[in-house]
């Protein structure tokens, strides 16, 4: 399941073509072409929406942060130098925007939108079990710190390599691995507790 193939380390013609297409879109955006911007926006909306939702745990904030992120993309597209992948560049902007938004909030973050959604959408038994597990996982990830959440989310659900994650979070590679180690340990504990509790 290649979530987000790493063109630098895993030559993949399709991923390379996608990356070139995104670079081309950015070039056109840099020239002020709104249609190219719309295409990139539609492409990134679901991924950014999910990432920001998980990192901030604030559903009402997601679109605002997402649009702030894309506004930076609109303004700075011409300055994209190709040293990183387009997705890495955009997610790094999104992460910084998310941190900035969270800094402006005083109250503890607790938005269990995933749980509410799960309760509101009953389905066949198997699907219900799956969604219940999903809700448990969402709750467990939500209890991690923002840094740990970001590493887990970017790795497991957005398919970034650890080098890219280090770029996105602006931290050393070893820090990414350490955060992952601690995040996994906590997740396992929470999930085991949650499953026993069911």
């Amino acid at each position: 399941m290649p979530l987000n193939s790493d063109a630098a380390t895993r030559p993949d013609a399709s991923a390379h073509a996608d990356e070139l297409a995104e670079i081309q879109l950015l070039r056109r955006i840099g020239e002020g072409e709104l249609r190219a911007f719309d295409a990139l926006y539609r492409q990134y909306y679901p991924r950014l929406s999910r990432f920001l939702g998980r990192v901030t745990r604030r559903t009402p904030l997601v679109e605002e942060i997402l649009n702030d992120t894309m506004m930076v993309v609109w303004r700075r597209a011409a300055s994209f130098n190709g040293q990183s992948k387009v997705s890495t560049w955009i997610f790094a902007i999104a992460y910084r925007k998310a941190l900035k938004a969270l800094k402006g909030l005083d109250e503890p973050v607790e938005d269990l939108a995933d749980d509410r959604q799960e309760a509101a959408t009953p389905g066949p038994e198997q699907a219900a079990d799956q969604r219940q597990t999903f809700a448990l996982l969402a709750r467990a990830i939500g209890s991690l710190s923002v840094d740990h959440r970001a590493v887990v989310e970017l790795t497991y659900f957005h398919g970034f390599g650890y080098r890219e994650i280090a770029e996105i979070l602006a931290c050393p590679i070893d820090t990414v691995k350490t955060r992952m180690f601690h995040a996994k340990r906590k997740l396992k504990g929470l999930l085991a507790y949650g499953l026993e509790d069911e």
């Binding site: 399941m1 979530l3 895993r10 679901p46 995933d114 969604r131 659900f157 398919g159 650890y162």
Partner: protein, 215 residues
């Protein structure tokens, strides 16, 4: 000796274990992937760990509804338009502030510059005289001579007109007009002689120079 081997195994195990999340999401480099696979073949704990990672991915990748992308994009467009408007206002404000801070004559100089720009733009916009008009092939020589207007006596034949034009070194460039006149072009130097010859001809009732003689 054996303690050293155990330590190396433990280090290798820890290194591989740290890479497992990215082995699971298939983003490792080839050499790292091979390293992990060699270790997995002999380590049941890491295989179990990998299984846990894969289950996590499968569960977490369940589709989640996101917001309405088109509605969000409309708001994004509004933000972009608002930003452009603010930038324009800011630009004018900055320009105005710098004008006010400059010497007293600066606003007048800027106003004069704007007037000049407006006049030049107007000149560019208004088509120049004659530009875009239809030109016959014979118009090629028009700029090099004088222009005469001639009226021929009724009943003058085409052959008579041709002879007269040849004799006067004139070219027919326009006509007949509504009044029945023709416009001829003659070399500037020969204009007086041509005019005299035309006036003396019995076939011509009127021959007058018109317009400017161009060099």
């Amino acid at each position: 000796m054996s303690g050293r081997v155990v330590q190396l195994d433990t280090e290798a195990h820890a290194d591989v274990r740290a890479l497992l999340p990215w082995y699971a999401n298939q983003t490792l480099a080839d050499y790292e992937r091979r390293l992990v696979e060699v270790h997995l073949a002999t380590c049941p704990r890491c295989r179990a760990e990998l299984e846990w990672e894969r289950q996590l991915i499968d569960t977490g990748m369940l589709a989640q509804p996101t917001g309405d992308v088109e509605a969000a994009l409309v708001r994004m467009h509004t933000d972009i338009a608002e930003r452009r408007r603010r930038n324009l206002v800011k630009w004018f404000a900055t320009a105005w502030a710098s004008l006010r801070q400059g010497p007293v004559w600066m606003p007048w100089a800027m106003a004069a510059q704007l007037c000049v720009i407006a006049v030049l733009a107007g000149l560019l916009w208004v088509p120049r005289h004659g530009e875009g008009d239809y030109h016959a092939l014979s118009a090629a020589d028009q700029g090099k001579g004088a222009t005469l207007m001639v009226m021929f006596r009724p009943g003058t034949t085409e052959a008579q007109m041709r002879l007269l034009l040849d004799a006067s070194h004139a070219r027919l460039v326009d006509g007949p007009t509504e009044a029945g006149a023709y416009v001829l072009s003659v070399p500037s130097a020969e204009s007086p002689a041509a005019l005299k010859q035309l006036r003396q001809s019995g076939a011509v009732t009127l021959a007058e120079p018109i317009g400017r003689t161009q060099p």
